[in-house]
């Protein structure tokens, strides 16, 4: 909240994480035409329709259908994150990446483990 901090071009010295955690340094992108956005949009429409088609028109055997549409969903989520959410933008260290990774793994863990635990054992006569 220092005065010097309010002025652009005079970013103060960092605390040193930038060196230790170089993999999390930010990337900015700026283009003259929103081509990236348009590509993302088209891709997401295609992926959605693809998944829908697989289910509606039975393009796949049942057993592999669910994993495949789940994979498609993850790809689409990645697109949203990378293209629309500018995941790698930040200042200093892009802390959102590790925090998000932790959240995703915990979210998936909750779903996966809950299914496993709630199956119960069998063994009643």
């Amino acid at each position: 909240m220092d005065h010097e901090d309010r002025q652009p071009h005079r970013i103060p010295t960092g605390h040193g994480d930038e060196v230790e955690l170089a993999i999390f340094s930010p990337k900015m992108h700026q283009t003259h035409f929103p081509s990236l956005q348009i590509t993302g949009y088209l891709l997401s429409i295609i992926l959605t329709l693809l998944a829908f088609g697989m289910v509606a028109y039975h393009w796949m055997p049942m057993a592999s259908l669910i994993p495949v549409i789940l994979i498609l969903a993850f790809i689409q989520a990645g697109l949203q994150l990378g293209i629309f959410m500018h995941l790698r933008e930040g200042r200093g260290t892009t802390w959102q990446i590790p925090v998000l990774a932790l959240a995703v793994s915990i979210g998936l863990g909750i779903v996966g483990f809950s299914i496993w635990i709630m199956m119960f054992k069998s063994g009643v006569s």
């Binding site: 040193g16 060196v19 200042r91």
Partner: protein, 201 residues
């Protein structure tokens, strides 16, 4: 000790240290929201087969309106990104108009969803009927209420953009809103896949 390299390509909302910290805070909020949705998904998938004496997913879902909702939401995500794009090009008008388009698409999404829910309830399929229906309405409803909150937020944001123009603060708010909106889109993609597509598969 090191110094961050200052590049002029840094968008204004990141040039200000405090605003960039606020953006990071919003990211962190989104991650907790993600775990919240994760828990609701866990409830839903575990309850999916617990239909009691009520309808099964297969009997309940109809794909047509859901596909429309999905396409609307995807489009709104796209227009939202254009709003941010305009802001970064310092075009206030563009930012506001794309925001309004986003908002309108969001509203039609919510209306379609409300219509879907009303039909179910009128057919007697309230969430009282079974654990599955409780899980379904709550998961989809939580997403829907998030979208509704987003619409309220977008309205206030549009007003502030109109009043104050593109300041550091309004830029940061627009960026945070965009994060929120795309995040809801991601959640919907999983809803669409896990609830609807695998429900009728």
């Amino acid at each position: 000790m090191s110094t961050t390299t200052t590049t002029t390509t840094l968008p204004p909302e990141f040039q200000d240290n405090l605003e960039s910290i606020r953006i990071m805070g919003f990211w962190v909020f989104l991650t907790t929201d993600l775990v919240l949705f994760g828990s609701l998904f866990a409830v839903y998938v575990v309850f999916r087969s617990r239909v009691g004496l009520g309808p099964t997913p297969h009997q309940l879902f109809s794909m047509g309106p859901v596909l429309t909702e999905t396409l609307i939401l995807l489009t709104s995500s796209f227009t939202c990104s254009l709003s941010l794009y305009s802001a970064r090009k310092n075009r206030v008008k563009g930012a506001i108009s794309w925001l309004v388009v986003t908002l309108a698409l969001g509203m039609s999404f919510v209306l379609l969803e409300i219509r879907e829910f009303t039909t179910d309830v009128l057919n007697g399929h309230t969430w009282h009927q079974s654990a599955f229906l409780s899980g379904f309405f709550t998961l989809v409803g939580t997403h829907g209420s998030h979208v509704t909150v987003g619409i309220g937020w977008a309205i206030m944001l549009a007003i502030q953009l109109g009043m104050k123009g593109l300041t550091l603060t309004t830029r940061r708010k627009l960026y945070a809103f965009a994060l929120y909106w795309h995040f809801l889109d991601i959640v919907w993609i999983f809803l669409f896949t896990v609830v609807y597509l695998s429900g009728i598969a």
